[in-house]
Every structure is written in structure tokens, then in C-alpha cells.
Symmetry: C2
Subunit: 340 residues, 2 copies
């Protein structure tokens, strides 16, 4: 067994696998369920509807300004659960590793996963490790799947945007996408640009009001960015959505980098931002609460939901700073691979 890199027998299910799990994984991932080394975790009984979400992470590079693939894998799946109003309770972790992958890098990533999941209070309870021969994968792919509990009766869903509702975003747009894409392109855009990866379940818990259910839609605008996410919601809810350009929180450095590379921040992935559509009368209050949290300090109302004109299709438009109207369509034909 080569001490410095991953070899095929680390994935064989035999002694080397046990050693890797015992000496590396369990050093940083400390839940009793995982430590029991069963093929399946058995958790406590829960009260409420069960939520489930899965995501594979194939980002390149694995390490980038603001984090690494480990942070994305934990935060991304926690956020998908949170966006349906669920309290995340457990994560699974499945790794596909290329033979020859540096053990040092694996250790850094597992350490990150341990730290981030502990900070979030959501344990890794079960896992799987596969090793494929050199050339059969590019470094490391991670799948995390999460389960959560919806302990209230609100139905938070992409279908529930209503005319009159307000659209809120929890902070600046495009930070993650521009970080990865400039890195992939080998462009040093410098400045304060870094991934925004963070978990949003505490932010969400602070704004949910189970009695009124006035938060109608929540989404984290990842692949496809804010514009594609809003197009999906408009289509599902059969509404129009109108954004106001001068309300959109976009960092000047991100705007500049987007101009250089030729990208639109509205289509760039975010990994720590929450889009909320809620009853108009609650919007100001929600933004006030969100601004008191570190992950929501730049929250803003950025748009309004309206009725679709008879015979027309639902659409998302941007009212520009100079008073024009720009139609926002879903991302199409632009391959943006391995952004998350």
C-alpha cells in the first residue's frame, strides 16, 4: 500500500478499505452511526414529513478561493433541504476516487467535510468509497445525499409564487460561478472574489413562520444562476417575474470580471444564496431579519411577481437601470461544466 496516493485496493472492500476508513475518514467524521461501520445507518425516530435531496459534485479545480469541493458537498445538499423548509438531520457521503489521487488532498477535503458538517450540526452518518483505475475519473467526485424533517405544514415549492409576491435574494450574485470559471480559464481576476459557499439552513429557520406560511418559494440559484432559477419558477407557478436591475446585489469586482470574460452574473452559479418569494406584506420584515445574519447581510428585495397576460407564456424580465426591459430566458447552449 502506497502511503502517499490512493490505490485500487483502497476501494476493494477489504483490509486497505478498512484502514482508509479507520485512519482517515473516522478521524474527521465523528458521528456514532458512521463509526459503527455498518453498510446502513439507523437514526432516531423523527416527527414530521421526511425530505430528501441528492447532488454529485464534480467541480474543477477541487480547491478554489473560498473553499474546496468538500464545502460545496456539505453546504449544497444542506441548502437543497433547507429550500423546502426542512431541518437537515443527516448526510451520506459517497466518494469516487481516481487511482493515484494524493492522500494529502483527500485528507484536506475530508477534514473540511468534517468541520463544515459539524459547524452546520448535520452529521455524515453513512458513506461509500469507490476507487477507479487511473484515467477512469478525473481526481475526485463526491455525492452527498441529505435527509431532513419538515416539521410544519407549509408547502414551500416552485409552484407557489403568486401575483403580488415579492422576490428577495439573500446576497450578492455570481461569486461562486465567476470564481470557478476564471480559475478554469486561468485568469487571475484578483480582488475580493471568492466562492460564496455556505449553508443556509439557519437563515431559513430564522424566517419561516409556520402559522402564516407566507414564504411561498425558496431556491438556491446554483447551476444556471438566478435567471434560470426564476424562469423555472415562473413556468411552474404560471406567473411573470419582474426584476429591477438597480436592486440586484452584484459586487463591482464580479461585474468587472464578468465583463472581461464575457459572462452575465445573472446566469452564474451561487452556492450560498437563497432566493425567496413571499407575501408582499412580509417582505420588508424578512429582509430585516435576514440582514442580521452573516449569510444574509446583503439581502434585498429585487423584484415582484405579476399575472401572465392572457394568451401569453410566463416570463421573467429585467427592468434596466435606464428604464428598458430585458427578457431573461433559461440558460441554453452554454456548456458550463464542472462548476459545482
Amino acid at each position: 500500500m502506497d502511503k502517499k496516493t490512493i490505490s485500487l485496493d483502497h476501494g476493494s472492500g477489504g483490509l486497505a478499505s478498512q484502514k482508509l476508513i479507520g485512519e482517515l475518514f473516522l478521524k474527521y467524521l465523528t458521528s456514532p452511526a458512521l463509526a459503527s461501520l455498518e453498510d446502513c445507518a439507523v437514526l432516531d425516530e423523527q416527527t414530521g414529513r421526511i425530505a430528501m435531496s441528492t447532488d454529485s459534485y464534480v467541480v474543477t479545480p477541487l480547491f478554489f478561493p473560498g473553499g474546496n469541493i468538500g464545502e460545496l458537498a456539505v453546504n449544497g445538499t444542506i441548502n437543497d433541504l433547507a429550500m423546502r423548509g426542512a431541518r437537515p438531520i443527516a448526510l451520506s457521503l459517497a466518494l469516487i476516487i481516481e487511482e493515484g489521487f494524493p492522500l494529502d488532498d483527500l485528507e484536506k477535503i475530508i477534514q473540511t467535510i468534517g468541520r463544515v458538517s459539524e459547524e452546520a450540526g448535520v452529521a455524515i452518518v453513512t458513506g461509500d468509497t469507490k476507487v477507479v483505475p487511473k484515467g477512469a475519473a478525473d481526481g475526485l467526485f463526491i455525492n452527498t445525499t441529505g435527509i431532513g424533517v419538515v416539521a410544519h405544514h407549509c408547502n414551500i415549492s416552485g409552484k407557489r409564487a403568486k401575483p403580488g409576491d415579492k422576490v428577495i435574494i439573500s446576497g450578492s450574485l455570481g461569486d461562486h460561478g465567476i470564481t470557478i470559471m476564471s480559475n478554469q480559464a486561468g485568469i487571475d481576476i484578483g480582488g475580493d472574489i471568492a466562492s460564496d459557499t455556505t449553508s443556509l439552513h439557519n437563515l431559513v429557520a430564522s424566517i419561516l413562520e409556520p402559522e402564516t406560511c407566507d414564504v411561498h418559494v425558496m431556491r438556491d440559484p446554483t447551476r444556471g444562476g438566478l435567471a434560470t432559477t426564476l424562469c423555472e419558477i415562473a413556468q411552474s407557478s404560471k406567473v411573470n417575474i419582474i426584476l429591477e436591475q438597480d436592486k440586484l446585489p452584484i459586487k463591482p469586482s464580479v461585474n468587472t470580471a464578468c465583463e472581461i470574460i464575457g459572462l452575465d452574473p445573472l446566469y452564474l452559479a451561487n452556492e450560498g444564496k437563497c432566493l425567496i418569494i413571499c407575501t408582499a406584506s412580509r417582505a420588508e420584515q424578512l429582509v430585516k431579519i435576514m440582514r442580521q445574519t452573516p449569510e444574509g447581510k446583503d439581502s434585498a428585495i429585487i423584484g415582484t411577481v405579476s399575472t401572465v397576460e392572457q394568451g401569453k407564456k410566463p416570463r421573467v424580465t429585467l427592468t434596466t437601470t435606464i428604464g428598458g426591459t430585458r427578457l431573461l430566458e433559461p440558460l441554453t447552449g452554454e456548456p458550463l461544466p464542472r462548476i459545482c
Copy 2:
């Protein structure tokens, strides 16, 4: 968009992704939760402890005698849940696809996943699709994660084998492993050899007795085979396990193929077999019940659990047909890549 193969924009989260999901995935995967196209499924409330298990499937070739990667992905995760005594209730499905992968093959695999999950009564409720550039993955990798409910209070675990207990296997050993390995080696072993992939949760449901909890351990001996799995159990439970060679159900064709390739069927992966360790007084009755099911028709008592001699380490031995004793150690140093 090339109609015949997967392109990068199928994984972008934009229009091409939506089209792939709508036209291919939802054609075969029909759960309402999945069809709602949220990033997270919300299921009904459940009564009982929640079980969770994850596995990535990287098998090569993707299609083999007895099934394809889709069957493995559904059955394998269902089985891991069943082995803890859980009733599987939902699966997630996450695909990592290499650019250029044939759409026809993807359709066949998704169709299989739909059929097998429907037959098993366990729906795919949420999913994820990532596409990586040509060369960054080898064809297709699948992760399935499952959740289940443990509706009784028995603790079925690798730690619970007790001296005096009997060891049962639900059928013939090594079928899956020899099928894949001979295929990988380009050897046509012919005959009746095919993967044994099947789901075992109905078999398990037929033998669990929540009042007596006399099934102590259940495991599906996949990677590392029966021998490695028993070594893990012996170590966790701090017991010896003695197998009887002439009780082991191994197909003559598998034995022959193993001799040709130079493999030991006790170390080969199974994908549709259940190893059970239970109170001695219940063993005969369990085998009788199991033999009445299609997946357990070749069930047999194959060994006994005994006490570890003072000062010695737990060990697994095989009493050979001629009366000798062979020590079975965990799989070590033998890379058996991409068997599941």
C-alpha cells in the same frame, strides 16, 4: 444539441437539462415527488427509526449477463437498507455522465432503473445529473442513496453475532463477481453464469420476527465476498465463525470458472444474497421460509458462531470437505476494481 449522445449542456442546469429530465427520465421514473422537479423531495411522515444508506456504482462493463448498472444501483441500495431490518421507502438517483455517452444506453439504463424500482415498490423521489467533459469519467457512474423505516425495536447489526448462533446464506456464492471479472478479462465462461442482482427486502420482511429479535446480523456480502464480510462480523462481534465447506452453495459452473481464472468464490462479490446470523433454534425454520421465496430458494445453513479462545483474536475458519481447517482472512492486496 446532438440527439444521439450526451453533451455538456445536458448537465448545465438549463434548457437541455430540463429536456433530458422531461423527455427521458420522467418517461421511466414516475413518482410524483420526482415529477415535481424540485431540488428536494418532501415525503410523507413516517413512524419508526429512519435508516439511510448510500452506494456509488462504477461497474464495468455497464451491461453484463444478468443485468446492467441500473439493476445494481437500485437493488444494492435497497439491500443495504434491508440488511438493517429497514423497510425501504425511497431512493435518490445521481448520475455522473461522460460527454459523448450514447443516449440509447442511458435510456436502457434509466428504463431498467424504473422497472426495478417499481417492481421493488421503492420509488426514485429525487435526482441529479452532472455531465463531465470527455475523458473526465469513464461512461457513467451512478449513486443511489436510500432511506427506510425500521418499524420494530430489534437491533440488527454486525456487532450482534453470539456464540451458538447459526450462519445462513440465501443462495449460491460468487455469481456476480465471476460474471463481471470474466467479462472484464474477456473470457467467455459460458454456461448459466450471470449476475445474481436482485432486491432482498421482501425476503427479509418474511423472516423478521420483531417479538423475538432472533435475527442478530444480516449482511449482503458484496465487495470482498462472503469471507471478508464474515471477518468483519467476527471482529465486530468478537466471535469465531466456522463455515462448513460442503454446505456452501456454489454453482459447479462458478467453481469451474473460478478455477480457470484463479479466484476463490468466497471472496467474490454477490449482489443478491443475504447472510443471516440468528439464534440456533430458529435457523431451520428461517431456511424453510426463505426457500419458499424465489430469491432464497437455495438457502442453507453454512456455519456456526463460537467463542473466541482466551488470548486469541476472533477468526473465521472453513472446515474443508476432507476435514481440514482453513483460515479465512479479509481480502487484502487484491485490487478488484469496478465490480459494482
